[in-house]
Each structure stands twice: as structure tokens, then as C-alpha cells.
């Protein structure tokens, strides 16, 4: 087998999906805008940090210092990075897959000599490329309003940050594909996604940096994949201290992400194989 065919397949998939996504620019812009949660949370945390009531009451973690040991500018950088991390690790495969399964589009996909999940991977990457300018505009708008928060990340951190956002996307995609694969058994697997979404919002670092968690909860959450989906990439991008007292260490975080990938890929392939065996082609 030569090296070229997979590359050609990848290029074709990408071109088709990108053309498709570019048609839906307006919708994707609105999706990008619907990720405002980190900015709302930034408002709360920065107002609390500026309020100084934490220092007056004697805070638990900071011992009377700034809230969580973070300045208002650091909060701003963290939450804008959380916004960016979420924009490029957001996954919607379960809804697409459910629709394809229910309407019988999945059957021809299964006949092709290409794992159907690759098609969804290409669709997600194309959507992210379409989303890029909108996410940049929103993030720049934020920095225009909060100019004191702006700082160029160190080149090494930027590179590692991009890498960790990519890994976060891979983990999130595999996790949601596991739920989507349950469509082979149940017609409405997307309902389960609603349950998965709850810990995703509250434990991932989307609403509060992991520093805010009490130590036990921090340890507990670090045994789940959630903090690696938003919190870790955001802290890498924001240039926050790693190792020591910080919730993440750079090497430890990356190793954990690779470990999750090594765990999830075989799990998904096994579940997929079992599911296809059960599949009876709805609508056929």
C-alpha cells in the first residue's frame, strides 16, 4: 500500500466539508457567540477580586491576599483562554450521528471503505476553521474592553497551548463518539449527552479555574477527563504557573491527556464493532 491514498482521501474529505461549512458561516458565527459563558464568569470573578471582601474576611486559600492568588488581569486571561479552548474543542458529533442513523444515511457510510467517524472528524475540523475568524473577533473585542489583560503568550507556551487544545478536542470527540455509538442500541442517545454536559460545565474549568476548587475536589476532578477539556489548555495558553502548588503540571497534564487517548481509542473501536453488529439499518 502506498502512502498517497490516505492523504488524498483526507484532502478530499477536508475540501468537501470546508465548502459545506463555509455555506453555514452565519450559523457558525452564532454558535461561536453562544460560547459567552466564560465571559460572564469572568465578570463575576473579576468583580469579586476587585471587591476585596475576600481579603477582609480572610480568604481560605489566599490568606488575605488577592482572590485565589490571581489578579484581575490573570482572571481575564484565564477566561479568554477558556473561551478559545472551548471554541476549538467543542464537539457535536452525537447530534449529527443520531440524525444520520435515524434517517438512514449511516448505511451507505458503513459500506464505504472508510471508517464513518473520519467523516465526522473532517466535519469538525472544517467547522473549526470556519469558526476561527469569529472566535478571533470575539477574543479581540474582549481585549479591546480589557486592554490591561492582554499579553503575548511565550512562544513555547503558545505551541504547547495549541497542542493541548488539539488533544482536548481529540479526547472530547472520542468521549462524545462513545455516547453517539450508543445510537446503535437506543434511538435517542443524545439525551445522554445532556447528562455528560453537567460535569463538563462545572468541572472542566469553564466556570471557575481549578484553583478555586477545594483540594479534595481538585484531586477528584483530575481523575476525570473534564479538567483536560478546558482548564488545562486554558491555563497553558494563559501562561499560568504550572507544577508545585498549581493544579496542573505541564508534563503531568500532557501525559494524562495522552493516557486518556490511549484508553478511549480502543474503547471506542470495541464499542463501535459491537454496535455495528447490532445495527439493523433504520429506514432501510
Amino acid at each position: 500500500m502506498s502512502f498517497l491514498p490516505p492523504l488524498r482521501v483526507a484532502r478530499t474529505l477536508w475540501t468537501v466539508q470546508f465548502a459545506y461549512m463555509a455555506e453555514y458561516r452565519a450559523e457558525i458565527a452564532l454558535w461561536a457567540l453562544s460560547g459567552v459563558l466564560p465571559f460572564i464568569m469572568f465578570g463575576l470573578w473579576s468583580a469579586a477580586a476587585a471587591d476585596g471582601s475576600a481579603a477582609a474576611h480572610g480568604s481560605v486559600a489566599g490568606g488575605g491576599g488577592p482572590l485565589l492568588g490571581l489578579s484581575a488581569a490573570e482572571f481575564a486571561r484565564y477566561f479568554v483562554c477558556a473561551f478559545v479552548a472551548r471554541q476549538f474543542s467543542v464537539v457535536w458529533v452525537v447530534w449529527q450521528f443520531e440524525e444520520d442513523a435515524l434517517e438512514g444515511r449511516l448505511s451507505p457510510y458503513l459500506l464505504q471503505p472508510l471508517h464513518p467517524l473520519w467523516r465526522y472528524v473532517a466535519a469538525h475540523l472544517a467547522e473549526q476553521a470556519t469558526r476561527l475568524p469569529f472566535a478571533l473577533v470575539i477574543a479581540s473585542g474582549f481585549f479591546l474592553l480589557q486592554p490591561q489583560a492582554f499579553a503575548w503568550p511565550a512562544p513555547g507556551r503558545l505551541l504547547l497551548g495549541v497542542l493541548s487544545v488539539g488533544l482536548a478536542f481529540a479526547i472530547h470527540f472520542l468521549l462524545q463518539s462513545l455516547i453517539a455509538t450508543l445510537c446503535f442500541w437506543s434511538e435517542r442517545a443524545s439525551a445522554l449527552e445532556r447528562l455528560f454536559y453537567v460535569p463538563y460545565v462545572f468541572l472542566s474549568g469553564l466556570v471557575a479555574p481549578l484553583q478555586a476548587f477545594p483540594p479534595e475536589l481538585q484531586r477528584l476532578s483530575l481523575h476525570t477527563p473534564f479538567p483536560y477539556l478546558i482548564g488545562f489548555p486554558a491555563q497553558v495558553l494563559a501562561g499560568m504557573p504550572m507544577g508545585g502548588e498549581a493544579p496542573f503540571s505541564l508534563a503531568g497534564g500532557l501525559a494524562a491527556m495522552v493516557l486518556w487517548l490511549l484508553l478511549l481509542v480502543p474503547a471506542l473501536l470495541l464499542l463501535w464493532r459491537a454496535g455495528v453488529r447490532r445495527y439493523s439499518a433504520m429506514g432501510a
Binding site: A26, E27, L30, W31, L33, S34, G35, V36, L37, I40, G43, L44, S46, A47, A48, A50, D51, S53, A54, A56, H57, G58, S59, V60, A61, G62, L67, L68, L145, R188, A191, L192, R194, L195, Y197, V198, P199, V201, F202, V207, A208, A212, F213, P214
Partner: protein
Amino acid sequence: MAMPVAPVLRYLRTLRRFWGTALATQLEYQLNALIELLAMAGNLAGSLLLLWLFHRQGVALGGWSWNAVLVVLGAYTFLDGLTSTLLRPNLSRIVNHVQEGTLDFVLLKPIDSQFWLSLRTISPAGLPEMGLGVVLMLWAARRELGALPPAPLLAAAVLLLAAAVILYALWFVLAATSIWFVKTWNATEVLRAALTAGRYPVSAYPAGLRLLFTLVLPVAFLTTVPAEALLGRLTPLTALTSLLLACGALVISRAFWAFALRFYTSASS
């Protein structure tokens, strides 16, 4: 002017039929209801966790005590439940009606089209959330004040109703824009995301956002004002503003629908 009773009765009878059939359909999907219930419990637990994360740092959000903040969360939970019970199941279909041309059939019915589109169905899975929101409000307010005098209770009930009307009008106007843009479903997602700001008292935000949440997107009137009413901290002026806003929002939503229909040309033409 005497209120004509017969049409009101007719609409009430129709509503009973609408919701009766909707309930019968929904009972077929019991597992979905269970998942909704679990998701609701998880969301509430997560919100409490987040509030506690602030609390344990000694932060009083906007100067509100722990119990007072819970009253706001209760109001938010109630309105979120209302969204899942009535707003989302009904208003999300306007897009489909426009896309598939079935809006024609709705317009031909001998009943007000806005009434039909807004109240045609009900999703009972959101009802427990509404109930829980009210219970949380009352429980937390009782812990804050020690007792619940009837006057603030009545004021809170009226202002929560006003909040529900404002929320409805926001959703309806946004959903009605699908007459022009067809695919505006994502716009309501943006609204939903922005409204999560209502989980916390509006004074907990920095000045700029506070202004935004009061004047542009009336988040303050949705949750903070009813909570203030229940805690007996409300000024009459704010209460009056909220009521006027609700009336205005309702009038605007009706006028907007009439205006939008002038541009409706059906799907096939």
C-alpha cells in the same frame, strides 16, 4: 369595558385540549423524562457548587448573603424550568413551520396564531424544575428573614410572573425573526447562553456588565428583581419599572408578530 367572557373560555378550553394531548404523547417517553430530571438535579448541584466556591473564599456576591443568593438561584431555576416546559417546545417549532410551509395551516385556523404557536404543546419534564425553583426561593428567603410576611410574597409572585412575560417576549420576538432568516435557532441559543447570567444577583457583576444586564438584556428584571421583592428590599420604582417592562414586552411581541406576518410569503411561493 366589560371583558368578553365567551372567547376567554373558548381559549381556556382549547388550552386544556392542547396540553392534554401533549401530556399523553410525552408519557410515551418516560426514560427521557428521567434523564431530564437527572440533568436538572445535576445542574442545580453544579450551580450550588459554584456559589459555594465563591462563598468559601469569603466572597459575598454583590454583597448578597448566602441565603439571599440562593433566592436568586431559585428564581433562575423556576424560569429555566419554564423555558423547558413551554418556551423551547413551542417556539423552537416556529422555524420548522416557516421552513416546511406548515405555518399556512396555523394561520388559517380560527384561533389567534400567536396563541397557537406559543402554547400548543407542553413538556412536563420541566415542571419539577419550576417547582423546585419556587421551593428553593421560599426556603432560602425563610432562612434569610426568619419569617415570610404575605406582602413580599405577593410582590414576588407578581414580579416573577412579570419576569416570565419578559422572558417569553424575548424568546418569541427572536423566534419570530425566522420569518425572514429561516434559520434563527442558533440565535435563541445565544440568548439562552447570555441569560445564564441571571443565576447570580446583577450587583455581583462589574459596572459595565451590570448596565448591559439592566438596560440591553433585562437579566436583572428576570431574577434579581423577584428575589429582591421576596427579601423585602425592593423599591416601588423598580417594581413599577418591571411591571411596565413586562406590559411593554408583551405589546411589542404582538406588534412584532403582526409586522412579521406581513412579510410571510409561504414556503412554496
